[in-house]
C-alpha cells in the first residue's frame, strides 16, 4: 500500500515514435522496472514537440516533463531532432531564466535499443522531481 502523504509526481513524457517510444517498449517487454510516474504521449518526432506543449503540461498539472527523441543523426526524418535541439536550447535557457527549477523539464536522447537506459532515465527523473516537490509555479489554480 502506498503511503497517503508521499508525493508521487506526475510526469508527462513526450516520446518520439521511432526511437524513444520503441525504447520504452523495449524496457517493457524486457520486464524492467521503473516508477509508474510517467504519462507517455507518443509524437512522430522530437521536432513535433512545440515548446508550448511543455509549458501547457506544466500549466495543467504536470510536476515534470520529459522530452525524448532519437540521437542526433538517427532521426527518422533526418533532421527533425537537429531543429528541435535549437528550439529546446532556447526553451531550456528561458525556463532557467524565469525560475523554473532545473530538473523540472528534462531532455534526453534514447534510441530504440536503449530499454535499460530508458528505465534508468525515468527512475532518475522521477527521483529528481520528487526532490523538487510539486510544481507550483506554472500550474493553473484549477488543476
Amino acid at each position: 500500500m502506498p503511503e497517503a502523504n508521499v508525493f508521487e509526481p506526475k510526469i508527462v513524457a513526450f516520446l518520439c515514435n521511432w526511437c524513444s517510444y520503441a525504447g520504452a517498449d523495449l524496457a517493457g517487454i524486457s520486464r524492467m522496472h521503473y516508477p509508474p510516474s510517467i504519462r507517455v504521449i507518443r509524437v512522430p518526432c522530437s521536432g513535433r514537440v512545440d515548446p508550448f506543449f511543455i509549458l501547457q503540461a506544466l500549466q495543467q498539472g504536470a510536476d515534470g516533463v520529459l522530452i525524448s527523441g532519437c540521437h542526433p543523426g538517427d532521426c527518422h526524418y533526418l533532421t527533425g531532432n537537429f531543429v528541435a535541439r535549437r528550439r529546446f536550447a532556447v526553451l531550456n535557457d528561458l525556463l532557467e531564466f524565469c525560475g523554473i527549477e532545473p530538473g523540472r523539464v528534462t531532455f534526453a536522447w534514447v534510441s530504440a535499443s536503449e530499454g535499460e537506459r530508458f528505465a534508468r532515465l525515468v527512475t532518475e527523473v522521477t527521483e529528481k522531481v520528487k526532490q523538487l516537490g510539486p510544481n507550483r509555479k506554472l500550474r493553473k489554480e484549477q488543476y
Partner: protein, 282 residues
C-alpha cells in the same frame, strides 16, 4: 533639422515621380512628445514627415499591411531595417516593392528618458537601404547598467527570479499591444487567439500571462531585433525586453547569430548545425 528637410525633399520627389505609391514615416502626433506613423500618398502629405526621438513605433509593422499596394517607401532606422531583413528572409515582403530611406537614429524617448532598448542599441544605422538620408550616427557603447542588472538578476535563486518576474507579469492585462506593434508578430491567427481548440486561457492570471510572455519570447528567438517597441507600447510598463534580451543572448552565444543583420543568414531557429552544443540534453 537638416535631416528632416532632406527626408521630406526625397519623399516628395519619390511620390511626385511615381516611383512609390506611399511613403511610410512619422508625422506629428496628438501630443508634442509623441509622433505617430504617417502614410503619405501625396507630396503635400510628405511635408509633414518628421524623424526624431519621439518616433516610438517600428514602422516595419505597417509594411505588412500595405504590401499589396505596390512599391512603398519606408523611413528606416536601424531597427526598422533589421525587421525588414527578417521579413524579407521569411518571404513576407518582396524587395522590389520596397524603397528604403535609411536614417541614423539617436534613440527613442520613453517616459522622459532614453528607452532601455536604445541604451544598449548597437545598430542605430540601417543595415540595408536604397539610400541614406543624412549622415550615419556613431555607434555608442551599450549602457553597462542594463547588462549589470541582467547579470544581477541571473545570480538570484530560481525562486527569487520567479518572484521578481511574477510581480511584473501578473500585472499584464493581456491587451496584446506588444504583439500588435511587433513587426515580426504577423501570424494570421495568433496562438492566444485560437479558440478551437483554445490553447491558452483568455483571462489575465499569472500562469497564462507567464506562458504568453514565454512563448512570445520563444517565437521571437533569433528574429527579435530588440527595437523595444513592445515595451514602449505596454500600458502596464512591464519590462518585456528582459525576456527578449535573454533570448537574443542565448541565440547569440549558442548559435552565433544576431537577428536581422545579414540577409544571407536566415533566422537562427530555422537552421541547425550538426555540432550545436547540447550539454543540457542527457
Amino acid at each position: 533639422m537638416e535631416k528632416v528637410e532632406l527626408l521630406r525633399r526625397r519623399a516628395k520627389e519619390l511620390l511626385k515621380n511615381g516611383e512609390v505609391v506611399m511613403v511610410i514615416g512619422f508625422g506629428p502626433g496628438t501630443r508634442p512628445d509623441i509622433s505617430q506613423p504617417l502614410f503619405a500618398t501625396t507630396p503635400e502629405q510628405a511635408d509633414q514627415l518628421t524623424v526624431d526621438s519621439t518616433c516610438s513605433q517600428n514602422l516595419a509593422t505597417y509594411l505588412l499591411k500595405v504590401k499589396d499596394r505596390g512599391r512603398v517607401a519606408v523611413v528606416a532606422r536601424g531597427c526598422e531595417s533589421r525587421s525588414i531583413v527578417v521579413l524579407l528572409q521569411e518571404n513576407q515582403l518582396q524587395r522590389p516593392n520596397l524603397y528604403i530611406l535609411g536614417v541614423g537614429c539617436q534613440g527613442v524617448i520613453e517616459n522622459g528618458s532614453k528607452s532601455v532598448a536604445c541604451t544598449v542599441c548597437r545598430y542605430p544605422n540601417p543595415v540595408i537601404g536604397d539610400e541614406m538620408v543624412g549622415e550615419p550616427v556613431p555607434v555608442s557603447e551599450p549602457d553597462p547598467a542594463v547588462t549589470r542588472a541582467d547579470q544581477e538578476f541571473d545570480r538570484l535563486s530560481p525562486d527569487e527570479r520567479w518572484q521578481v518576474l511574477s510581480e511584473d507579469i501578473t500585472r499584464c492585462i493581456r491587451c496584446y499591444a506588444c504583439r500588435q506593434v511587433c513587426p515580426n508578430c504577423y501570424c494570421p491567427v495568433c496562438f492566444v487567439d485560437a479558440s478551437m481548440p483554445q490553447l491558452l486561457g483568455k483571462t489575465p492570471n499569472l500562469s497564462d500571462n507567464m506562458v504568453f510572455h514565454l512563448i512570445r519570447a520563444l517565437h521571437m528567438a533569433g528574429r527579435c531585433v530588440e527595437c523595444g517597441a513592445c515595451q514602449r507600447a505596454c500600458p502596464m510598463g512591464i519590462d518585456l525586453m528582459r525576456f527578449n534580451r535573454r533570448v537574443a543572448k542565448t541565440v547569440r552565444e549558442r548559435f552565433n547569430a544576431i537577428a536581422g543583420t545579414d540577409l544571407n543568414h536566415p533566422p537562427a531557429l530555422t537552421q541547425f548545425a550538426p555540432d550545436d552544443p547540447q550539454e543540457f540534453i542527457r
